[in-house]
Symmetry: C2
Subunit: 171 residues, 2 copies
């Protein structure tokens, strides 16, 4: 029951109400064939995605690979355009596939470390295999430190390379 308060923060409600919540109702025109939902949600169908944050952290530790968490919303145009750029960037897809544990989420987690400057989308956070959120790896926007735009793919790639240099302090 303690989760109640954490989960239903005003921000979570605001972010989600505007978005995915309507989806299941809309896509329920009885008896019409539905397309099975994928874990990739279009961010890279050929990549292997973790389902939950718990799973992703476990893989990150086990495989000793950094974790990349992408927060987005299906009906947010900024998320959509970033997704397109991300999915089409061969260098990013390759590096994500080979060197990262990856997770994309449309709902916030209860870990406040994943929203160092608020819960907005799209945003991308890196987590070290030591389970430390790399709040130091940021994009180019001062008001939304973890936001990226489609023309930021070079910066994102170099941030991924930074994330691959692990923090040694806790190991």
């Amino acid at each position: 029951m303690k989760m109640l308060k954490e989960l239903l923060s005003v921000l979570l409600v605001l972010v989600t109400l505007s978005s995915a919540m309507g989806k299941p109702e809309k896509t329920t025109p009885k008896k019409e064939k539905r397309i099975p939902q994928t874990l990739s949600r279009g961010w890279g169908d050929q990549l292997i995605w973790a389902q939950t944050y718990e799973e992703a952290l476990f893989w990150s530790r086990s495989k000793n690979k950094p974790l990349m968490v992408i927060f987005h919303l299906e009906d947010c145009p900024h998320s959509q355009s970033l997704k397109k750029a991300f999915a089409e960037d061969k260098d990013i897809q390759k590096l994500a596939d080979e060197e990262f544990v990856i997770l994309n989420l449309v709902y916030e987690t209860t870990d406040k470390h994943l929203s160092p400057d608020g819960q907005y989308v799209p945003r991308i956070l890196f987590v070290d295999p030591s389970m430390t959120v790399r709040a130091d790896i940021t994009g180019r926007y001062a008001n939304r430190l973890y936001a990226y735009e489609p023309n930021d793919m070079k910066l994102l790639l170099s941030n991924m390379q930074r994330a691959m240099k692990f923090l040694k302090t806790e190991l």
Copy 2:
């Protein structure tokens, strides 16, 4: 960092090591076309599945529908045979589609209420829209209260109907 201890409980490690962990390595024969992972994982491709427990709780409250959580493992034969029976049972699929928020997980969550008598698979837990885990809704096995076998589909259906009668105490 507090999550560390909760997440890496011995049980979680035992359950997961034996199972999904090997998967990504095995299914990475470089350059072979992969089939995108689905959220249904075969438990009902035509149903709408929540991705995470947080998301499922949010939907359950918002839609005022009970939540059904299925814990399973891809290479556990008991999970596989239960999955087949579950996916092929039209009454269960229909009721799940219309009256439930549904979630299937191969990794444990940090909510200990979801493992009243331990972390084993397969097991099915119901959660009331008031966010109370219905530990009172059990299967027929005294040593694993939330386990079901393929020939328990009638019992599972009647348990789903019980879950639809909400707890009033907390509302």
